[in-house]
Structure formats: C-alpha cells, structure tokens
C-alpha cells in the first residue's frame, strides 16, 4: 500500500433501491478482496442501481482503476446501472482518459447521485 495513506475500507448500505458502497483510503492492489466482498454484499439482493461513493478515497493507482473496471464489467453483465459520487476533479479526468466515464454517470456527491436516480 502507498505510504502515508489510510488502508482501504468498503462498507455497504441501502437507500431507496440503491446499494451504496462507501469507499475510503487508498485503492490499489491491496483493495481487491475488500472491494469484491463489498460488491458481493451489495448485489446479494440485487439493487436497482449501484452507487460507488469515492468521497473518502485518498488515492487510486492504476491497479485500483483496474479493480473498478472489473466491478463495472460485472455490473454491466448483470444489467445493473453503476453510478459514482465524490470523485475529485483529478479522478474525474482519470475516469475519462481510461474511458470508465463512458459507462457510468459521475455525480459530485451522494445527494446529487441519489436525486438523479
């Protein structure tokens, strides 16, 4: 894990048909197991949509982006819309360059994401 950052954490809650996965800390290769577990928990009872909240994420490296791609691919396969909230301007740019943004709506915060759902 990158030094100086908090360890990755992921928690799941539900609101109005949306499964919200709250992410925090650094998203790198060490996040794989927790992220996959969170996705499994969020989709155990299929929600109408999945919201990834990045507001408390410190840093994402390229392996972290690949983990998000895997989650997005699984959600698309399950025909489940995936939306995001709380990405900094920098990571919104990264989502555009990696073309993740082609397949997920990006909202400034959780309230905006839920309001648009």
């Amino acid at each position: 894990m990158a030094s100086g950052f908090r360890e990755f954490q992921a928690s799941v809650r539900r609101q109005d048909g949306t499964a919200i996965v709250e992410l925090s800390g650094v998203m790198d290769g060490s996040a794989e197991q927790l992220l996959n577990s969170a996705y499994a928990e969020a989709t155990s009872s299929p929600p109408e949509r999945l919201l990834l909240n990045f507001a408390d994420v410190d840093y994402i490296n390229s392996t972290g982006i690949a983990l998000i791609v895997s989650i997005l691919a699984q959600a698309r396969k399950a025909h489940m819309p995936l939306i995001t909230a709380g990405l900094s301007e920098h990571y919104q740019e990264i989502f555009r360059i990696t073309r993740l943004a082609d397949f997920m709506s990006i909202y400034p915060d959780e309230a905006a994401a839920l309001a648009a759902a």
Binding site: F5, N61, A66, V69, R76, K77, E93, T98
Partner: protein, 247 residues
C-alpha cells in the same frame, strides 16, 4: 500544512494527462511508427472479445532487490527484456506518464508471422508500477500493469492485463490462431528475463479469470482500425520507399 496533500499531489503526477488522440513524439531509431498517431484510446470496456484478467507473477527469492529497484530496472530495460518478435520502443524520454511506447511485433497465423506496428500510452507510472493503455486498432483493448510488491519479505514481479480482443479478427486470432499462447509466452519471457537479471531462476505463476464472457458485437466495427491489416496493407508502400531510398 501537512505532508499528505503534497504526497498526494506527487502521486497524482503518476497519471498521464487526458488526451483525445495519441501523438508520437521522438521515436527511437528503428521503430516503425504506424497505427498510433491520431488514434483514440480504448479500454477494457470498449473492445469486442471476452474480457480477461490475466496475472503473471514471479517470486525473486533470494534477490537483494527492493520493489523500487525492480521497477526502476524494468522501466530502464523494457526493450531488452522483450522477445525478438515483440519489440518495445519507449520514447527517448523513457517510461513516463503520457509518453507513447511503440511496438513492432510479429503475430502468429501464417508462415513467418504477420507484422504489426502499434503502440500504447504510458497511462500511469510511479516507483512501484507502470501501466499502459491501448489505442484503437491494437490487438487488445485494455490495460497492462507491470509492478512489483513485497510478499513476506520477498519481492514479487507481476504483469497483470485486463483486456479483451479489440475486434472479431483479433478474437479469432487469440482463440484459434495461437495469439493467446504467444501472449503468454511473451510475458513469461519478460518475467524470467527480469528474474535472471537478479540471479533467480523460478517458475512464472499464471492466473486467468474471465471477467466477462460475452462478445460485444456492437464493437465489431473496431476492425476498421485493425493494426495488423493496416500494417500488412502498408507493406508495399514501405517496400517501395526502401527501394527508392526514401525514409
């Protein structure tokens, strides 16, 4: 001011700046530069074939090399670690975010192989990893990450790809023409070569996971960018230039 924001800013510099189209700058001598300039980027979700995550790992048991040492050596010696039929040409600037790495390779499928000139964008580079992203027309659509990490006091070198074939021709080639086996051979060659530099002889551990087994037929038209077809069609032009002494 705390140290953390400064560190985060430095880490953010590890990412390439957004680009709409790739631009090849100072290509190294000997590199054929086709099918890269002006191409858009294509990720794991934009290609045609099944989406695979393939992880290749080698443990550098006994090597006196830190994670950072290994990645620094890897970046500096990327061209020489590649096999003869898959040459990498970093720009003169090296493996830095936003730079384009040209690739001249030979794919299986016919006697002597099929030449392909392509390239990748260095999407991310820090002292523990670097990642590349493919352009339109590349055999695969996705990312490759070259990294090292510490496992119980031993440095492990890893290549992880998250990609799918870019179009139906490539998907056929990967499945039935030996393309998939060639790809595996290339990454085994790179990792065993890297380990050999540190005096280590070890097996490469390979793990393959099909993330999405569906074919994305709405991406079948990606074939119009196919770098193998375009490189082959360009061959008479290159031959004529050589004949008449033009670069």
């Amino acid at each position: 001011m705390t140290e953390e924001p400064t560190q985060q800013t430095n880490r953010d510099d590890a990412w390439a700046k957004p680009v709409d189209k790739l631009t090849v700058g100072d290509a190294r001598a000997g590199a054929m530069n086709l099918n890269v300039d002006g191409r858009g980027l294509t990720g794991p979700l934009q290609g045609f074939g099944q989406l695979w995550q393939k992880t290749y790992r080698i443990r550098l048991d006994g090597a006196e090399a830190s994670v950072q040492d290994v990645v620094a050596y890897w970046k500096a010696n990327l061209p020489t670690l590649m096999p003869d039929d898959s040459r990498f040409y970093p720009s003169l600037t090296g493996v830095k975010p936003g730079e384009v790495l040209l690739i001249n390779a030979t794919l299986p499928g016919m006697p002597g192989g099929m030449p392909v000139s392509t390239g990748v964008l260095i999407l991310y580079a820090d002292d523990e990893a670097f990642s590349v992203m493919t352009p339109d027309g590349h055999p695969e659509s996705g990312f490759n990450t070259f990294s090292a990490y510490d496992e119980d006091g031993t440095t492990v070198a890893q290549i992880q790809s998250l990609a799918r074939a870019n179009d139906p021709v490539y998907e056929f080639g990967f499945r039935f023409m030996g393309g998939g086996a060639q790809q595996e051979r290339i990454w085994r060659h790179v990792l065993t070569g890297l380990a050999s530099h540190y005096g280590v002889t070890a097996e490469v551990d390979v793990k393959k996971v099909c993330v999405d087994n569906r074919l994305q037929w709405n991406r079948a038209s990606n074939v119009r960018h196919n770098a193998v077809i375009r490189t082959t069609l360009n061959a008479p032009v290159r031959a004529a230039r050589r004949l008449f002494g033009r670069a």
